[in-house]
């Protein structure tokens, strides 16, 4: 019983990071109508960037964060321009295969870099962000935990306001519903999709900062399993929905934390799979996900 609250805290931490990555999936899917399989790997690139800036270059922390966000945003922009834009209008399968290719390319480049530079793929951070902690009874909540939750909540609300209240946000909604009609309004569809990728990647960078602060490691393959779970979170919450992505992320994170903590040792190893079982049940019960809307697509 004394494991309950700490497990919940673990789940919220993990879930918040999933949520930030799920936001990127859901926005890109909602607006560009494509599954950016390489999105998870962007957080890996973000984490390596942090590692290099902190451990090797000894840059001040604030600068490190800005560099990580810039690197990821530029990466998202370039990947879209070079790999996805030329395929716009071709079969979704071709786009998906390309995205998987980009994912492996990023992983291999990171592996190559880490192996040449550090002699090993997996690297550990020394704890770089210490924000103290709060003790309530026999439960300890660290400052980093609070930072993770608050950041995720603020970003969710910020994204919802951005989409609903700004001109660019409205353009995104228009592109999401009907690219041709959006163009007839004077919306530059290519630019709008680029902005979507940049925002999604910037959110992945923030996820990587929070992840590194909490779990303090980086490796070339960290993004792929992470990405799949975040994608599952986006689908769980209803792909295309911003609050859906966050709720989905938190639920997947909590399920994972609880199955790791409470399942007996031998089953425990399968805790990664457990979240997917819940996802499948969800999709059988409500195919559009928790907050997903039934939409009719126009050609």
């Amino acid at each position: 019983m004394e494991k309950l609250i700490p497990t919940l805290i673990d789940g919220l931490n993990l879930g918040s990071v999933y949520a930030l990555v799920a936001l990127g999936y859901t926005m890109v899917y909602g607006i560009a109508k494509m599954l950016n399989f390489a999105h998870g790997d962007v957080i890996m690139v973000g984490a390596y960037t942090l590692f290099v800036c902190i451990t090797t270059l000894h840059l001040p922390l604030w600068l490190t964060f800005i560099i990580a966000i810039l690197v990821c945003s530029v990466l998202g922009f370039i990947v879209e321009k070079l790999a996805y834009k030329p395929l716009r209008g071709s079969s979704p399968l071709a786009v998906l295969i390309t995205a998987i290719g980009v994912s492996y390319l990023l992983q291999n480049l990171a592996l190559l870099f880490a192996n040449t530079k550090y002699g090993m793929d997996k690297q550990f951070f020394s704890s770089f962000l210490n924000l103290g902690s709060l003790k309530i009874g026999n439960v300890t909540i660290s400052g980093v935990d609070f930072l993770i939750w608050i950041t995720t909540a603020v970003i969710m609300v910020g994204m919802m306001l951005f989409i609903k209240k700004t001109k660019t946000g409205r353009a995104m909604l228009a592109v999401s519903e009907d690219k041709g009609a959006a163009q007839l309004m004077g919306v530059n569809v290519n630019k709008t999709i680029s902005i979507t990728f940049i925002i999604g990647s910037a959110l992945a960078a923030i996820a990587s900062i929070l992840f590194a602060a909490k779990y303090q490691f980086v490796e070339s393959t960290m993004g792929s399993l992470f990405g799949i779970k975040a994608f599952a979170a986006a689908v769980f919450g209803g792909i295309g929905s911003i609050p859906g992505a966050v709720i989905g992320g938190v639920i997947i994170g909590i399920i994972e934390a609880f199955s790791t903590a409470f399942l007996p040792g031998s089953v425990n190893a399968a805790s990664d799979g457990f979240a997917f079982v819940i996802l499948i049940i969800m999709l059988v019960l409500k195919p559009t996900g928790l907050l997903g809307k039934q939409t009719t697509e126009k050609v």
Binding site: D178, L184, G186, V187, K293
Partner: protein, 235 residues
Amino acid sequence: MLLEIKDLSVYYGVIEAIKNVSFSVEEGEIIALIGANGAGKTTILHTISGLVSAKSGSIKLSGKEITKTPAHKIVEMGIAQVPEGRRIFSQLSVFENLKLGAYTRNSQAEINESLETVFSRFPRLKERKNQVAGTLSGGEQQMLAMGRALMSKPKIMLLDEPSMGLSPLLVSEIFDIIKSINKSGTTVLLVEQNAKKALSIANHAYVLETGKIVLGGKSEDLINNDSVKKAYLGE
């Protein structure tokens, strides 16, 4: 000449949908383009708006070449389209749809002014300002699509089958509105299958058959033309 189309050819893959089409629209006019299903009417409007690219030929707006101009810039230059099937943003509110219509404009005061004009022209849109557009009736959706196009303050408005799927009474209402939009200074290029109605409000008209213009002239002459009567007016 406000809009001048010369020797326009458009292909879908290897299929030539538009063959050497030329016509022009003078400022202040209503021009009708009539033709049967699949004649190429929508293709011509999409090419003017930049959604489809021309294989050859030229499109000029006030003498300026726009054949290769990207779609989003064409709106800014003063061409608005009310597309076939309306294509309103069904998940957004009426108000948000109208705001998207003014996407290329920056002055909030001017946008508000246009909004007032649109609301006074379509009082029903004002009443339903916050309604989700997808729940509007067919007639209301057509009005929203027209209002949305007007929000860009166009020099010329392209209308693709505005009467489609509407009751005869509403069709008359829509045509009255088109006339009045034209009276207040917007040039109109109207695509219609309802040839009778279209010819009744247009100054000039062209008849399109399988991608070619086969006939053109003053509306009153076309109304009395025997082959037009037989093929398009059901007489």
